[in-house]
C-alpha cells in the first residue's frame, strides 16, 4: 500500500492522544497513512484550517460541528463528526481565594459530588462568578449549564467567558475569572503553578460526555471514503491501545515530549490514570473514568449525543430545539463509523441512538457480537434525555 500523507489539525491537549498515538505507534502506518499533525493555537484556527482545506481532518470540540450545522459562529461549512475521540476529561477549578472560602465552610474537595460542590460554591460567592471556558461552543459550556441549572448556582449571576487555556491560570491569578472549566493538562498546570484548586471532574456532572470528535468536511468524507476509513481505523486502534493499563506510562511519556504537549509526563499521567492532584497542597483524588478513549463504545458517534448538544445550544440561542436536534443528528455520522469499522473487531451497538443519562451502572446492550457493555452515563441531577420523544 502506498503511504498517503494526511494533514490533521489538533490542539495540544491530553485528549489529542489518539491522533498522536496513531502516528507515533504505527497505527497510521499500518493503514498506509502518515499523519501530518498540525498543532493549532486556537479552536477557531482548527475550525478554519479544516473548513478552508488546509487540513483534511481535525481534533475538534464536539459541539463545534453541531453549532456550524446550526449556522452559528462565522463559518458554516458542512462538517461530519465521524467518531468520538474522547469521552470526559474536563475539570472545574476555582481560584485560591475561593478555595480558602470553600474550606472555611467545611467543603472537603471530594472531587465527586457535583450537587454539594455547586451548593457550597453558591454559598461562598453570593455576588456571582466569572467562569472561564476555552470556547463558546464546547462541552465545557454545556456541562457548566447543566451544573448551574440544577444547583443553587442558578440563583447567582454566572458569567461564562472565553479564555484560551494557556492563559487560564494567569486570568485566575489576575482576578479576571473566579473559576474555570478546562481540559487537561491545563487544570493540573494551574494547580502546579499554585493558581487554583480543582473542584470537580466533568464526569461528576455527566458520567459519559462526548468531549472531542474526529471531524472532517462532509464533502471530503464523501469523495475520500477509503482514506477516511483508513484514518478512522488507525485512530480507533490508537484509542484501544490507550485504554490498556500497560500503555499508560508509555503514553504519558510520549505525550509529554516537547514536540507534542511539552508538560512533564507525571502531569499528563494524572489525566490518563484518573488520579488527580486537586490542590497546590498536594491532595490526590481518584475520578473513575476521568478520560475514556475506548471502553463502552466511547468512540461511537451516537446521534443522540449530537441531538442533546443541538437541543442545549438551541435553547440558549433562541433557535427551535426540534429543528436543531434534527440538524445536529446529521452531524454525528454513525453510518460512516459502522462502514469504516466493519471487519476491525469493533463491537458495534445495535442502535444509533440511546437514552442519554439512563445508565446508572455499566449495562450490556444488543450489539454485533451480542455482548457490548455500555458504561454508566448518568447526569448528576438524574435527568434523562430522550432523543426521539413521541
Amino acid at each position: 500500500m502506498k503511504t498517503v500523507t494526511l494533514p490533521v489539525a489538533y490542539m495540544p491537549l491530553v485528549d489529542a492522544a489518539p491522533l498522536i498515538v496513531a502516528q507515533e505507534m504505527g497505527f497510521a502506518e499500518a493503514e498506509g497513512l502518515s499523519l501530518d499533525l498540525v498543532a493549532a493555537p486556537s479552536w477557531s484556527s482548527v475550525r478554519d484550517m479544516l473548513a478552508f482545506g488546509r487540513v483534511d481532518a481535525a481534533h475538534l470540540l464536539s459541539p463545534v460541528p453541531v453549532a456550524m450545522a446550526l449556522g452559528l459562529g462565522g463559518v458554516t461549512t458542512a462538517m461530519s463528526a465521524v467518531s468520538v475521540l474522547s469521552v470526559n476529561g474536563d475539570v472545574i477549578g476555582v481560584s485560591r481565594d475561593l478555595e480558602a472560602r470553600l474550606r472555611d465552610t467545611g467543603h472537603g474537595f471530594d472531587f465527586a459530588d457535583a450537587a454539594a460542590a455547586g451548593a457550597a460554591l453558591a454559598r461562598v460567592a453570593p455576588g456571582g462568578l466569572k467562569i472561564g471556558v476555552p470556547f463558546p461552543f464546547s462541552m465545557h459550556v454545556e456541562l457548566l449549564h447543566v451544573w448551574c441549572a440544577a444547583t443553587p448556582l442558578s440563583r447567582i449571576r454566572i458569567d461564562i467567558r472565553t479564555v484560551p487555556p494557556p492563559l487560564m491560570a494567569q486570568a485566575l491569578a489576575a482576578g479576571e475569572i473566579d473559576a474555570f472549566c478546562v481540559g487537561e493538562p491545563w487544570g493540573s498546570v494551574s494547580v502546579e503553578g499554585g493558581a487554583g484548586a480543582l473542584l470537580l471532574p466533568g464526569s461528576a456532572i455527566w458520567a459519559f460526555a462526548p468531549e472531542k470528535v474526529l471531524a472532517t468536511r462532509t464533502d471530503w468524507a464523501e469523495t475520500e471514503p477509503h482514506l477516511l476509513g483508513r484514518l478512522m481505523r488507525a485512530v480507533w486502534r490508537a484509542g484501544r491501545w490507550l485504554s490498556l493499563p500497560d500503555s499508560r506510562t508509555a503514553a504519558a511519556e510520549m505525550l509529554s515530549r516537547r514536540s507534542w504537549l511539552d508538560v512533564p509526563s507525571e502531569v499528563v499521567d494524572r489525566a490518563l490514570s484518573g488520579f488527580l492532584t486537586v490542590s497546590p497542597s498536594g491532595e490526590v483524588r481518584e475520578a473513575p473514568r476521568f478520560l475514556e478513549f475506548h471502553r463502552g463504545a466511547a468512540t461511537f458517534p451516537w446521534r443522540s449525543q449530537a441531538k442533546w448538544i443541538g437541543g442545549q445550544i438551541a435553547r440558549r440561542t433562541g433557535l427551535d430545539p426540534a429543528m436543531a436536534m434534527q440538524r445536529a443528528a446529521t452531524v454525528f455520522r454513525s453510518d460512516l463509523y459502522r462502514a469504516a469499522m466493519r471487519g476491525t473487531g469493533a463491537d458495534l451497538p445495535g442502535a444509533s441512538e440511546k437514552l442519554e443519562g439512563s445508565l446508572a451502572n455499566a449495562t450490556a446492550v444488543a450489539s454485533g457480537s451480542g455482548r457490548l457493555i455500555l458504561e454508566r452515563d448518568v447526569f448528576f441531577d438524574g435527568r434523562v434525555f430522550d432523543p426521539s420523544p413521541d
Binding site: 484556527s45 478552508f52 488546509r54 452559528l72 472565553t162
Partner: protein, 194 residues
C-alpha cells in the same frame, strides 16, 4: 463619501502593529485602532465598535473573539467572520497567510477587499521575516552547541577540530540522529559529570 471603515488591529508586538497600521493607512482612509494588551479583549473591542477586527491566526486569544460572533456577545450588532460572507478564494488566502478578520455583518464585500488584500500582503511579509529569523537563530544555536561539543572532545582526547567533528558525525550517523542532537547530549553529559 462613506464614513471611513473603523478597523481594530489586535497585535501585542509594537513594531508589527505599527507596520500594519502604516500599510493600512497607505491603502485607504481608515480609522485604525491598535489593541496591544489582550486582557479583557472582548470588552475593549466592544468599546471601539469597529467594522473589522484584524488578528493573527497564531494568536490564541482569537478564540475570545468568537464570543463576538454570537448575537448575545458584547456588541449589540451581530458579528460574523469575514470569510463566511465573501468570496471563498479571498477567505482561503487570508487563512493561509495567517490573517483572520472579524467583520460586522452587512458590510459590503467590495469595501473589505482592499483592507484584506493589504493585511494579507503585510502578514505574509512578516511571517516570512519571522520564519527567516527563527531559522537563523536556530542555525546559530546549533553551531554554538556543536562548537562546544567539539571543544570538549578536543580537550578530552587531545585531537584537532576536524577529528572532533568527524567523531560527532560518525556517532550521529551510527545512531540515526542529528549531529546537533549528539552534540547536545555530549554537552549535557559533560555538564553533569563536571
Amino acid at each position: 463619501m462613506p464614513t471611513p471603515l473603523s478597523i481594530v488591529v489586535v497585535e501585542e508586538d509594537r513594531d508589527r502593529a505599527i507596520a500594519i497600521v502604516d500599510a493600512l493607512k497607505d491603502s485607504g482612509d481608515y480609522d485604525v485602532h491598535v489593541i496591544g494588551n489582550v486582557t479583557g479583549l472582548a470588552r475593549k473591542i466592544a468599546a471601539f465598535l469597529p467594522d473589522i477586527v484584524l488578528i493573527d491566526i497564531d494568536n490564541p486569544t482569537r478564540d475570545m473573539l468568537e464570543e463576538l460572533t454570537l448575537a448575545s456577545g458584547p456588541l449589540d450588532r451581530p458579528v460574523a467572520m469575514f470569510v463566511s460572507g465573501a468570496a471563498g478564494g479571498l477567505a482561503r488566502a487570508a487563512v493561509e497567510a495567517g490573517v483572520s478578520a472579524y467583520v460586522v455583518d452587512g458590510l459590503q464585500p467590495e469595501r473589505l477587499k482592499p483592507v484584506l488584500d493589504t493585511a494579507i500582503a503585510r502578514f505574509q511579509m512578516m511571517r516570512q521575516m519571522r520564519t527567516e529569523l527563527d531559522e537563523t537563530r536556530r542555525a546559530l544555536e546549533e553551531r554554538k552547541v556543536i562548537d562546544r561539543a567539539k571543544g570538549l572532545l578536543m580537550k578530552a582526547k587531545g585531537i584537532d577540530e576536524d577529528e572532533a567533528y568527524a567523531i560527532l558525525r560518525k556517532a550521529a550517523m551510527d545512531q540515526g540522529r542529528k549531529v546537533v542532537d549528539v552534540a547536545q547530549a555530549l554537552v549535557t553529559a559533560a555538564g553533569l559529570l563536571r
